[in-house]
Amino acid sequence: MPDPDRGAPPEKGHLSPDDIAEFKRRASELGTQIDSVQAEKQAEIEEQQDRANRSRGMAYGLRMSTELVAAILVGGFIGYMLDTWLGTLPWLSLVFIMLGFSAGVLNILRTFKRMQSEIEAEKGFHVGKSVSDDDDR
């Protein structure tokens, strides 16, 4: 049964120039349609990833601030305890506050390193080192 919508079936192996033009038009139309759908989906996916990254960035930010404060507090507390025990107030407190500060910075550096390796594993490049940006163009 010939389909009335499709026009007359071509002769064996023969296409008229009109048919060829029609095929080409339809193919390119389909191509642009697929492209636009893909672009739309791509933007959607990228936006989702962006949102996930942003909230992860916020999670890391919230972590780092307390990391430093807690380490200084613990350092100061240990120093003060040693001071009251040995009767050397305020010297060990001062030393241990400095040590606590170093511990805090160390914690922050470790968190950052972890974050870096996470992003590296995900995107396949290293942040903080030769990432091309607007300046490079």
């Binding site: 404060v69 380490a71 613990v74 350092g75």
Partner: protein, 248 residues
């Protein structure tokens, strides 16, 4: 102005004295029980069907499971799944309590330092116990980083020890401070609306401004409530990973 701190007041509901220990049932305890029952009931109800094509509630429960399982596998590997029940419980407990706290008039249990401190200390003790049970004295390698020259080693070890002991503090402070600060901010901004409306005249005209702020802060607080549960759980995974592999 309504007192923004009033919402954190622990009230005695049923006074109880167990052999000289004050075990009063407070509103804090009430909401903890409510949180446990809610999360338990919800998960049990969601997983009752166990159908291959999940219902809406079942897929929520499944995605929470996948989320926590992914977090555990990422940070500890497959052998970390032994701790999955513990970590999942922590996550559900904190998430439910944080979200319950977002309901107006409800008590926010996680804004009490002693609750978060108890949770953090639990993690701290578990890490130490697991660390020594798995590695024996090798757990102390945690304080001796590799490739450090011997003459600065005492100093570096001391810093590592302080860093280790700062963990429960930062672990508990973060959750507590974020929940406390968020709820106080909400209350203060909400108080502005009432104050402006009460002032009358031109002041009443700008009363919608703090209302908009409250709207935005509420959305942010929901995000923070989730993020804090996530951060707490992720750090628990990281610390447990240190206990399993001390020399990294």
């Amino acid at each position: 102005m309504p007192d923004p701190i009033y919402q954190f007041e622990v009230k005695r509901l049923i006074p109880l004295d167990v052999f000289g220990i004050d075990a009063t049932f407070t509103n804090s305890a009430l909401f903890m029980v409510a949180g446990v029952l809610l999360s338990f009931g919800l998960l049990m109800y969601a997983s009752r069907g166990r159908s291959l094509v999940p219902s809406r509630l079942q897929s929520v429960a499944e995605s929470i499971y996948e989320f926590v399982a992914g977090m555990v596998r990422d940070s500890m590997g497959e052998q970390g799944m032994k701790f999955f029940p513990l970590i999942f419980t922590f996550f559900m407990f904190i998430l439910t309590l944080n979200m319950l706290g977002m309901v107006p008039g409800f008590f926010t249990v996680t804004s009490q330092l002693w609750v978060t401190a108890a949770l953090a200390l639990m993690v701290f003790v578990i890490v130490i116990v697991v660390g020594f049970a798995k590695n024996g004295l090798g757990f102390l390698r945690l304080f001796v980083p590799e490739g450090v020259p011997i003459y600065v080693l005492p100093l570096v070890s001391l810093i590592e020890v302080i860093s280790f002991f700062s963990r429960p503090l930062s672990h508990s402070l973060r959750l507590f401070a974020n929940m406390l600060a968020g709820h106080i901010t909400l209350k203060v901004f909400a108080g502005f609306i009432i104050m402006l409306l009460g002032a009358g005249g031109a002041a009443s005209a700008i009363a919608p401004l703090p209302l908009l702020a409250v709207l935005g802060i509420t959305a942010l607080e929901f995000l923070v409530a989730f993020l804090q549960a996530y951060v707490f759980t992720m750090l628990t995974c990281m610390y447990l990973n240190d206990a399993l592999h001390p020399g990294h």
